[in-house]
């Protein structure tokens, strides 16, 4: 069953795994205040992974172990996950440094990243499910990491939603296997057309529900605001960034490679999910007064835009590079926004009053991140939106592009609700004295915001890299 494979083609994955295992052992023997070594090790592992990805990206596409695809999408997923991991490692600096469970945080983070990466490359339902679990379980634990305030509640909610999603996914995998007698995507595509289409549709919808949970998309988005508001901002940034990357790529790959549209009209299904995600996320974000809940709903709407790219996957050559680029842009910009929340330590919109006066550079980073999420040029998300919109129009979903544009304007309302108080004068000194901005998170916010602009301006290079090697 298993095709021969070369383990060296999995260096990025192996580096993460080794980094996690070594970190766990090392952390057990390291005094608490020197546990930053574990974080350093994780960063080195990510660096090695990035270098290996860069090398691997120059090779022709391949399938290893019969189940894992090495193509542009996988390389891009690896690169995006690893860059996001580096940013998140920097972001968590203030939260975890010297903490009792610093090592656990870093190890769980790495394992979650590994799961997300595997999701992106999986070309077999069983591997997909394994990756789903690997991308989920460490993050449940991470959500409950802080043990303070509402974090245990958020973790429980996340876990319960995830357990349900896991069961549904497993059922979906079983149904698809029952219809086709295969788990590999190629075999699935060939066999599905012969079996009963209704069963296949149910199975597909079940698997998609699981992936939608990972991506935080409608209809499995209920956990997003609670988790992002219930945990420290650093954790919220992890949970809303990392799993999405793998889940969205996995969705696109599964649908394009394994499900013939004649069996299930999945482009329309995904288009509807995209429309619902962006609209529901935006409408729910309007009334929020907590920045983290607001950002949580904003990530739901962002997944809607991402799903536009999934809906036209395979219909137009523009879909894949657009989707991957949007993912990269989203990851960087989303981390920047959460990093600002982490840096100010304020959870409400009103609490950000006077930020521009206290820390103008951070305020500019926030504006760049929020307008970036809106899609204002020259930030990366603009280019992402441009390419995704183009792909949607090209793939015959012009109505979706129009809806997305309307949604974008609607999203301005709540992003500006956060920008406005930042530039207002502080209410009184007592109020602002509490607001000290923190080092690691602040630097991450500024770095990620700068990266978002850089990615937008130099997008040509990245887009070519995502589009040319196929």
């Amino acid at each position: 069953m298993m095709a021969p494979g070369d383990p060296s083609s999995l260096i990025p994955e192996i580096a993460l795994l080794l980094g996690a295992v070594t970190g766990l052992l090392l952390g057990a023997w390291t005094p608490r205040r020197r546990q930053w070594i574990v974080r350093g090790l994780a960063a080195v592992a990510a660096g090695v992974g990035l270098a290996a990805t860069a090398v691997a990206a120059n090779r022709p596409p391949d399938v290893v172990f019969g189940t894992y695809v090495l193509d542009t999408a996988t390389h891009a997923t690896r690169a995006i996950v690893l860059v996001a991991l580096l940013l998140l490692l920097a972001l968590c600096g203030d939260t975890v440094a010297g903490h009792r469970r610093e090592t656990e945080f870093v190890v769980l983070l790495q394992l979650g990243a590994l799961g997300s990466m595997l999701l992106g490359g999986a070309a077999d339902l069983i591997l997909l499910f394994a990756a789903f679990l690997l991308a989920s379980v460490p993050l449940y634990a991470l959500t409950g990491w802080s043990k303070q305030g509402t974090a245990p509640e958020a973790a429980l909610k996340y876990y319960l939603a995830g357990a349900l999603a896991g069961v549904v996914t497993a059922a979906g995998v079983t149904l698809l296997f029952a219809v086709s007698g295969a788990t590999g995507y190629d075999a699935l595509a060939a066999e599905l057309t012969r079996g009963p289409a209704a069963v296949a549709s149910v199975g597909l919808v079940a698997v998609l529900a699981g992936l939608a949970f990972k991506a935080g998309a409608v209809p499995a988005h209920f956990w997003v605001p609670d988790v992002s508001d219930g945990t420290p901002p650093a954790v919220a940034a992890v949970v809303t960034t990392l799993p999405k990357i793998g889940a969205v790529v996995a969705m696109a790959r599964l649908l394009e490679a394994a499900i013939p549209p004649v069996v299930v009209d999945w482009p329309l299904l995904v288009a509807v999910l995209a429309a619902l995600s962006m609209t529901v996320g935006n409408l729910a974000a309007f009334a929020q007064t907590s920045v983290l809940r607001l950002l949580g709903y904003s990530t739901v709407s962002q997944v809607g835009y991402l799903l536009m790219g999934v809906a036209v996957a395979g219909r137009t050559g523009r879909a894949e590079p657009a989707l991957l680029f949007y993912l990269a842009a989203y990851a960087v910009t989303n981390v920047a926004a959460f990093a600002v929340a982490a840096a100010t330590g304020r959870r409400t919109l009103a609490g950000h009053r006077g930020l521009a006066r206290r820390d103008p550079v951070l305020a500019v980073a926030l504006v760049v991140a929020l307008l970036g999420l809106v899609g204002t040029p020259p930030t990366a998300v603009f280019l992402g939106k441009l390419t995704v919109f183009s792909a949607a129009v090209d793939g015959g979903f012009a109505w979706l592009a129009v809806l997305a544009a309307v949604n974008t304007v609607a999203s301005l309302f709540y992003y500006l609700r956060w920008v406005a108080p930042v530039f207002r004068d502080p209410v009184d000194d007592a109020d602002t004295a509490v607001m000290r901005t923190r080092g690691w998170a602040r630097d991450t916010a500024i770095g990620a915001a700068a990266l978002s602009v850089l990615l937008g301006v130099a997008g040509g290079v990245v887009l070519t890299a995502f589009g040319s090697v196929t």
Partner: protein
Amino acid sequence: MLSVIVFLPVVVAAAITVLPARLGTRCFAGAWVATGLAQLVLVAVVWSALPGTGYGAVERVEWIPSAGISYHLGVDGLSLPLLALVAVVFTAAAMYTLRGVDRPKSYVLLFLALQAVSAGLFVALDLILFFLFFDLSIVFMYFVIAGWGTGAPARRAALTFFLYTFLGSLALLLGFILLALAADRPSFDIPTLAQQNPLGGGGTYAALTLLAIGIGLAVKTPVFPFHTWLPPAHTEAPAAGSAILAGILLKMGTYGFVRIAMPLLPATWRQFAMVVVVVGVVSVIWGALVALAQTDLKRMIAYTSINHMGYVLLGLGAAGMVAGSGEQARQLATAGATYQMVSHGLITAALFLLAGSLHERGHTYAIDAYGGLATRTPRFAGLFAVAAFASLGLPGFSGFIAEFQIFTGALGAAPVATVIAVTGVLLTAAVFLLVMGRMLAGPVRVPDGPGTPRPFADLSVSELLAIVPLLAGATVLGLAPRVVLDVIEPAARVLNDFLAR
């Protein structure tokens, strides 16, 4: 060369960020004035080297080749006058700022950024580059209105402005995507698209594209019924902000019509030219009538802007209606519309700066609060009268040349519409004459603050340095229009050739 013109303000802005904020207005505004003057010199150099046909000073670098996007700059007779207008109006705003402003450092930084994106928009030859500058102008202007307007109404006005114009910009983006996808090989390059004319056949796809682009530009212009964001934005913005908003940002909409909508969608433009003419005429009359009803000077000027932008649309729409035989008429209408953009930019900027000076002294824009200013502040009164006469289109000023050309060009194609539009001139004349009568003549009346009456001083030197050149420009363009028309006309001819395909 064009890159230098566009990014010079950015470089200066970057240099300013390292200076401490306590240096004061003079330092920052001084740097801004110097930037504007330098830009003006550079524009003059480009002007002197403009080729007879085609684009001058072209720069092109591949930017995002896989999506058909390039960094493509260039000027022709349609964009060069507007580029010069950017330099002139921003320099005037800088002069005006010399007299002092709250938080000068961030103020000047924002305006320098606005100056860069405004200059960039008029020289962009790539749709995405155009969109980039278009969108950034909204962002920076939002912060100007929200940051230097007064209190909660300013924030509301800024939000309204942002939402409306951003909605417009997204419609524009969709239109651009539709245009780019229609080409043989997806491309956002304006000259390439004009050459290929992918939507020359018309049809539903082309109509939807023009609808998207048209809505986007109409909001920015603004024309009736998309104008509701404009009066509050103008009223709440600081004087220099209003001057830039009306003088430059509104032109981004009308410029988009001549640069993008007309040459890239010629058949559809001809098909729907009547709609454009009607929208233009409605804006003319509506703007003038509502202006007549205003008691607030700044709102009144804002509504006359809607009126004046209506003439531009009338001219451009008429150019699409004139059949192949009406070469001359089409030429007149297009050139007149472009001329009107420049003329209105100068005059309305001067009017808004004058209104700002008045507010500085009286702390209100209420027209009724002032009277007999001709005796108390003769310099203000004189300049206000000149600006008012220029704005209502008196012969000798640039507005007359522009409107005369538009009417002459449009008369053959849309006689009824043109006749209706001409009454708009009468209405604006009434508006300005009434206001002048109430504010400048009669017994002296200035608003009283609580307590002792304040001295009501005449215009200061920096205010004069800002306003006089603008009005002098409007006069020169009125007396010697060939200076600019010689540049506009060849480009208008090229545009009309595209339109006639």
